[in-house]
Each structure stands twice: as structure tokens, then as C-alpha cells.
């Protein structure tokens, strides 16, 4: 058993049920998480009148923490959504793949099924990735605005920033660990 090479189907299944993401997805997640975590900096600079030079260290530290937690939320949300998306798109993808490969007599049935499975995985992966980013970004911004402008508006700007970013990214990460 040790050293046995996995078939393409087994590899796809492992990939499907694994929480690990590809390097490309990981770069996409961390890049988006960094941008979203940096957006509140403009609010706190221009609206709450924080001084950029004095607050640089706090901003850098909280942005790094927030980036990690938001990327964590992206990964979890994507994993939960991927299977649901795959179930919804399975029929349409199969139809499309069979239509494009239907006339190819050289390809066996098994190869066509593998191609359809791979395509389904790719479509589900892409749609789940983009939707996870969209949903978590919307949730992040709602929480950041409500916390900073309504709940924490009587606190000093530095405390407001630290509590807002930590609570927002923490809640996002927490909610993403749910099973649904």
C-alpha cells in the first residue's frame, strides 16, 4: 500500500474533501484578506483622525492579525460551499463536457467521466472561492462600520481601532467554523 500511486480519480477526491487550498487560491485569499483588512485604515485615518505616523505599529500589527483571520474564514467558507456548489453544478457541467467530448471516439468512457469530474471540481472550486471572498468581505465591512461608528464611538480612536478589527476578524473566523 505504501508507495502505491493514486489514480487521477482518487487524487481528485482527496482534493475535493481536503481543506487544503492550492497555492494560487492561497495567494488569492491572502491578497484579498490584506486589501479588506487595510480598508478600515482609511476610515480611521480620515474620519476618526488617527495620526498615521504615531499609529503605524498598531495598524501594521492589527492588519497582519486581521489578514490571517480573514484568510482563515475564506478557507473555511470555501470548503463548506464547495460541495454544495458541486452538487448544483454537476448536471450542467456533465452535460457541457459530454457535449464537447461526445464525438471523440478515441476517449474511453472512463476518461470522459474523469474529465467531467475534474471540470466539476474546477468550477465548484472557482465559484466557492469567489463567493467565499464576496460573502466574508460584505460581513467584514458591515461589522467594521457598525462597531466603529455606533458601538465603540465613545472610545478613543486607538482603542476603537484595536477592538473593531479584532472583534470583526474574530467574529468572521468564528462564524466560518460552523458546519453550515
Amino acid at each position: 500500500m505504501v508507495g502505491k500511486k493514486l489514480t487521477k480519480q482518487e487524487e481528485l477526491l482527496l482534493q475535493d474533501f481536503s481543506r487544503n487550498v492550492t497555492t494560487k487560491s492561497s495567494a488569492l485569499f491572502y491578497g484579498n484578506a490584506l486589501i479588506v483588512s487595510a480598508i478600515p485604515l482609511w476610515l480611521f485615518w480620515r474620519i476618526h483622525q488617527m495620526d498615521p505616523y504615531q499609529s503605524a505599529l498598531v495598524w501594521a500589527a492589527m492588519t497582519i492579525v486581521s489578514t490571517y483571520l480573514v484568510a482563515f474564514a475564506y478557507r473555511n467558507t470555501k470548503f463548506i460551499l464547495k460541495h454544495k456548489v458541486a452538487q448544483r453544478r454537476e448536471e450542467a457541467v456533465n452535460r457541457e463536457v459530454m457535449k464537447s467530448l461526445g464525438d471523440d471516439k478515441k476517449m474511453s468512457r472512463k476518461e470522459k467521466d474523469e474529465r467531467a469530474l475534474w471540470k466539476k471540481n474546477e468550477v465548484a472550486d472557482y465559484e466557492a472561492t469567489t463567493f467565499a471572498i464576496f460573502y466574508n468581505n460584505a460581513f467584514y465591512l458591515v461589522l467594521a462600520i457598525i462597531l466603529s461608528f455606533y458601538i465603540l464611538k465613545t472610545t478613543t480612536p486607538t482603542i476603537n481601532y484595536i477592538l473593531t478589527i479584532s472583534a470583526t476578524s474574530g467574529i468572521l473566523a468564528l462564524f466560518s467554523t460552523g458546519s453550515q
Binding site: 463548506i80 460551499l81 454544495k84 456548489v85 448544483r88 463567493f131 464576496f134 460573502y135 460584505a138 460581513f139 465591512l141 458591515v142 462600520i145 457598525i146 461608528f149 455606533y150 453550515q180
Partner: protein, 176 residues
């Protein structure tokens, strides 16, 4: 001799009367020429009260300066302040915003005689509207700015909640 004395007496009395008339006439501004600047409060989100201010210079054809003036502004009679040489005058009124809505406010300026007539009319509980003012200025008050109807953070929060709700609904449909 008696006739000469009588003529001298008449001349002295006439001169005395003329002096009195001229002295009295010298206290009143004849044909006033006014150059004015007005100011009213334009902002109510931070400022608590509305101020109406009128500054003016007054030139009289008979050369009278340094007059004691009084003004009726927004229903109140107030003394008009002046600078040291009596060439520049200023009158102001301060009150709550609701007491000074948008509109044109006439400022009737009176000299001492006019003010005495007003005081007499007030004692007799008569209207002072018929008393002629020395001149009248106008302050055009456009009304203060009270801030936007909706705060920007409310609009931002509402928009963000709507977008999140759409995303949440789509996610729920996907997971159903």
C-alpha cells in the same frame, strides 16, 4: 435814540434766535448717506445662536459726526456702537435660531430725537411704527445650515447591511 436802541435789541435777539436754531439743527443729520455691510449666521450644526450684524458709515450733508444712534432690529431697540472718531457704526442682535428664521430683516436707525419719540410712544402704549427713522438698512438672512438630513455613517451602514443581506440570502439558498 430810542429807535436806535430798539433796532439794536431786535438784531441781538434775532442773532440769538439764529444761533439757537443753528445749534439745534447741528445735532440732526441732514440728508444721510449710508454705506453698509451686513452679516448673519450661516451655520447651525455647531453654532448655538443666530447673529445679525450691520456695520455702516454715515455721512451727513451738514457735516454732523459722532451721533448717538439707536436701532430697531428684529423687534428690539438697541444702542448703536461707534468707533473712536465716530465714523463707523455697528449694530447687532443675537438670539436663538428659531427667533430668526430665513428672511429680510429691516433695521430702522434713529437719532436721539427719534428715540425720544419712540420712548414716549412706548410709555403711552402706542405703536412706534409711524415714527420716521433716520434711515433703514436691510439684513438678508438666508437661514443657517443645520447639517445633512442623513448622517454619512448611517448611509454607509445601511448600504453595507443591504449588500451583506443579499450575500447571506444567496449563501442560504446555496446551502439549502
Amino acid at each position: 435814540m430810542d429807535t436806535t436802541k430798539m433796532c439794536k435789541f431786535i438784531i441781538v435777539v434775532s442773532l440769538a434766535l439764529c444761533t439757537v436754531v443753528l445749534a439745534v439743527a447741528g445735532e440732526t443729520c441732514q440728508n444721510p448717506s449710508v454705506a453698509s455691510q451686513v452679516y448673519s449666521t450661516h451655520e447651525a450644526s455647531v453654532v448655538v445662536n443666530t447673529a445679525l450684524v450691520a456695520e455702516f458709515t454715515l455721512k451727513c450733508s451738514n457735516g454732523v459726526k459722532n451721533l448717538a444712534l439707536y436701532a430697531e432690529i428684529n423687534g428690539q431697540f438697541v444702542p448703536v456702537t461707534k468707533n473712536e472718531d465716530g465714523t463707523h457704526y455697528q449694530v447687532s442682535w443675537v438670539g436663538e435660531h428659531k427667533q430668526a428664521p430665513r428672511g429680510v430683516y429691516p433695521v430702522r436707525v434713529f437719532d436721539s430725537d427719534g428715540y425720544q419719540q419712540i420712548k414716549k410712544a412706548q410709555r403711552n402704549e402706542e405703536s412706534s411704527g409711524a415714527i420716521k427713522a433716520l434711515f433703514t438698512l436691510s439684513i438678508d438672512h438666508s437661514g443657517p445650515y443645520r447639517g445633512p438630513w442623513l448622517q454619512s455613517e448611517f448611509i454607509a451602514a445601511t448600504t453595507a447591511i443591504i449588500v451583506w443581506y443579499c450575500a447571506y440570502t444567496a449563501k442560504s439558498k446555496l446551502q439549502s
